[in-house]
Symmetry: C2
Subunit: 462 residues, 2 copies
């Protein structure tokens, strides 16, 4: 068991250089780059950064690291919000960004095969040429490998699902170097245990993903965006849940509080009214989207929604969603030099309005600036809390506050994480939420598949 | 390890009686009923049938059976097509049908909590009173516990997903009696390993499910059915794949060959033209379904589809889908005294037409009557092959033929099972398809969670 920091010997580093065709680096800047992510968790440097180019190279590296008991943390874009890529116990950061080939796009099968280092924006640029898109869109331009490992979701999950629903097959390397293939290029599969979904969201603790087969969709004939303002946060959230219950087909439904709107106005040079706001998107036929938008308009009016605007103009639609995707960075840009801690609760639909108000009440008692936004159709929302990275006591204090919020959400039947994952910060929350017996089953699986605990130690479990 | 038949001693049977409030039976008729399913696999009797009434009773039974190394096979409706419920190594059949309470229906959360013995038709009758429905619809009136354990799917999977997509949370008893809870009552979840989806489709080999939380949907404002005929099987299947690629929102899209139509005509007193046929269903607003049906009509005409008929009449729509759900029994009814072997391949979308024709060619070389139908929008189809249960050599022969078909489907990048599962008949196919290294990971998980191999031994693995 790895329970203290591992620094590599020069012999080990030289040996790793024989195993990969890419770099093995101990350059300080490179180590720094691989010791941080988008969370506010203080950085931890790896002992070395290793850049493989193929599944075989990853296999050879893992075989060696397993024998030598060297921790291995897979690294993609470094856009995790839960410290996933931080090498808490040293060892190597396995940087997969040079494995960034789109192997094949198969429009007739509505699928794409690619290496884990491909970024989602680059993927969608390529797919657009075939009239296709990949639906999962976390705010960051993450890598697909990272998105699979953390079970990412995004603004379109309400319509198209999360990574769990859109990864058909995986090639992965187990801790001992064994290469496995899970899943098939089929839309349905009932053959044996669902190893694909066991690996998705396992946060790099069970295997390193080296190839993915993803389901893609045809770009809809028509896409329309709509925006509507509410007097209060509770009204906006209640309207969203009413729309979900109505069964109207929405492709996106996002809530932003007044502070978020203020931040995105400044960051993206917009002039949206600074009120609690819902952003919508509709996908379908021209008549279909118009009808859906009209149905939504009727519902939001019952919740005092005002200034309902909708557009099928592509430029306006893109600008709106770009602003939404920038909301996290817009929040940080409003507070130069600061970092943000993000909560990630999801609750049963009927509890969403209560949950958001409870979080707001707790945060209002403290001095830290915050904003709230959410994938409200999925009853998943984030509080972004601004903290000063030069004051560790602030981070500690904010962690206590977010833990208080998380515990309230769990009491309401919710989860501590709808899409960001456990990382190192929610290990206790996972036990509170899921119960020790189920977490113990997870741990047994981990111990069986990675007996030396080399894969991302210190994440998901203590 | 259990590797030969286990028959219970009278002391063991008496002890089991102290552990459950329901019956413990060794009545011959009861043993017979629990020794067969809807497959053509020859029956195998359990040594006793045990009927628990609660999670605690299941836990006590498993704890005892684990200590005594008694095999435990969970039993629901007995509607498996792969011999899942057959106690190949004796021991007990754990009949969960008395755990059939719908615990709560929560329309505001779009979810329902229930015990595993609830049947899907009964569930939908209750849900309809709340304007809701549960989407997964295998042909049989299976129990929800059985459907979760086998990862069932159905005609609406193209729109609403399979059990994997619609089970939010599970209470399950592990082999040693430990009770775990997985998942949450939320639409999104990223907290730790996805044990929910590990259990779904594990065919009773990892745990016994004792409670389920399911996602439900509001009954759509409008539902329309359509039907269209094709000159050849290949035309019909090609039309279906073109419709999927077009992105038109279909709720159901099923193919039936001329023989299936003949059988359902006889069984359900219909007079459909005996030609290769597609059945469709559309869900949405009145205008939306009309528009979707019109778009489908335009596409099918390109593939020589004729006699396109559509209806929003509720009686006609129900009658059509009832006939589709009866197709399996209609096929058997056409051959009194016979049983059917069903294939269950799914292939990449672009291979579907080839795959169906390949299967038809192989079957045409043999004397056994067969028909073909499929969830073609998901590129999953079934060949029903009629066999005489009194002639074991016929079953053996048919098994060789289906194995030949399965191997061809795997070569095309397909799977041996889209929705029926592995059971005892596709153990070798699972290895061919997934590769020994991945199957070995499955086996390691099984050995870790059920070291005495008491849970449904002989299924999924040898």
């Amino acid at each position: 068991m790895i329970n203290k920091r591992v620094d590599l010997t020069s012999v080990q580093i030289e040996h790793l250089k024989t195993l990969v065709s890419g770099a093995v680096s101990t350059n300080e800047t490179v180590l720094d780059q691989h010791g941080r992510d988008e969370s506010a968790i203080p950085p931890v440097r790896p002992s070395a950064v290793v850049m493989p180019h193929s599944t075989d190279e990853v296999s050879n590296v893992l075989k060696y690291c397993n024998a030598e008991k060297i921790p291995v943390v897979a690294f993609g874009a470094g856009s995790s919000l839960e410290g996933h890529v931080l090498p808490l116990f040293g060892g190597i950061s396995l940087d997969l960004t040079q494995m960034n080939k789109i192997i094949e796009i198969r429009p007739d099968d509505l699928l794409v095969r690619l290496e884990p280092g491909v970024h989602r924006v680059a993927l969608n640029e390529k797919l657009a040429g075939h009239g296709l898109f990949f639906s999962v869109d976390p705010g960051a331009d993450a890598t697909l490998g990272g998105m699979a490992s953390t079970g990412a979701a995004g603004t379109t999950t309400v319509r198209y699902g999360s990574m769990r629903d859109n990864v058909l097959a995986i090639t992965a390397v187990m801790a001992d170097g064994t290469v496995i293939r899970t899943g098939r290029e089929t839309r349905k599969l009932s053959a044996g245990y669902d190893l694909t979904r066991l690996l998705i969201g396992s946060e790099g603790t069970l295997a390193v993903i080296t190839e993915l087969t993803l389901r893609v969709f045809g770009i809809p004939e028509k896409m329309a965006a709509a925006i509507v303002r509410f007097p209060t946060l509770a009204d906006g959230v209640s309207a969203a849940t009413a729309i979900v219950r109505s069964g109207i087909s929405i492709a996106r439904c996002e809530f932003l509080d007044a502070k978020c709107i203020k931040n995105v106005n400044a960051h993206d040079d917009l002039n949206l009214s600074e009120m609690p706001t819902l952003f919508f998107e509709f996908h379908g036929s021209p008549q279909g989207v118009a009808e859906d938008a009209q149905s939504v308009k009727e519902i939001v009016e019952e919740f005092d929604g005002s200034d309902f605007e909708w557009t099928t103009d592509e430029g306006a639609r893109r600008k709106l969603w770009q602003a939404r995707h920038n909301a996290y960075w817009a929040g940080i840009a409003a507070h130069p030099g600061k970092r943000a801690v993000s909560t990630d609760a999801a609750v049963p639909l009927s509890k969403l309005s209560d949950a958001v108000q409870t979080a707001e009440q707790i945060l209002s008692k403290h001095p830290y600036p915050f904003s709230i936004l959410g994938h409200v159709a999925d009853a998943n929302f984030h509080c972004f809390i601004v903290t000063d990275p030069t004051k560790p006591e602030e981070l500690e204090d904010v962690r206590h506050i977010t833990h208080e919020i998380t515990m309230k959400m769990i009491e309401m039947g919710g989860t501590c994480t709808g899409e960001h994952g456990i990382g190192s910060g929610k290990i206790q929350a996972l036990i509170e939420e899921t119960g020790a017996p189920a977490v113990n089953i997870m741990r047994l699986i981990k111990q069986t598949l990675d007996p030396n605990n080399i894969l991302n130690p210190g994440k998901v479990f203590n």
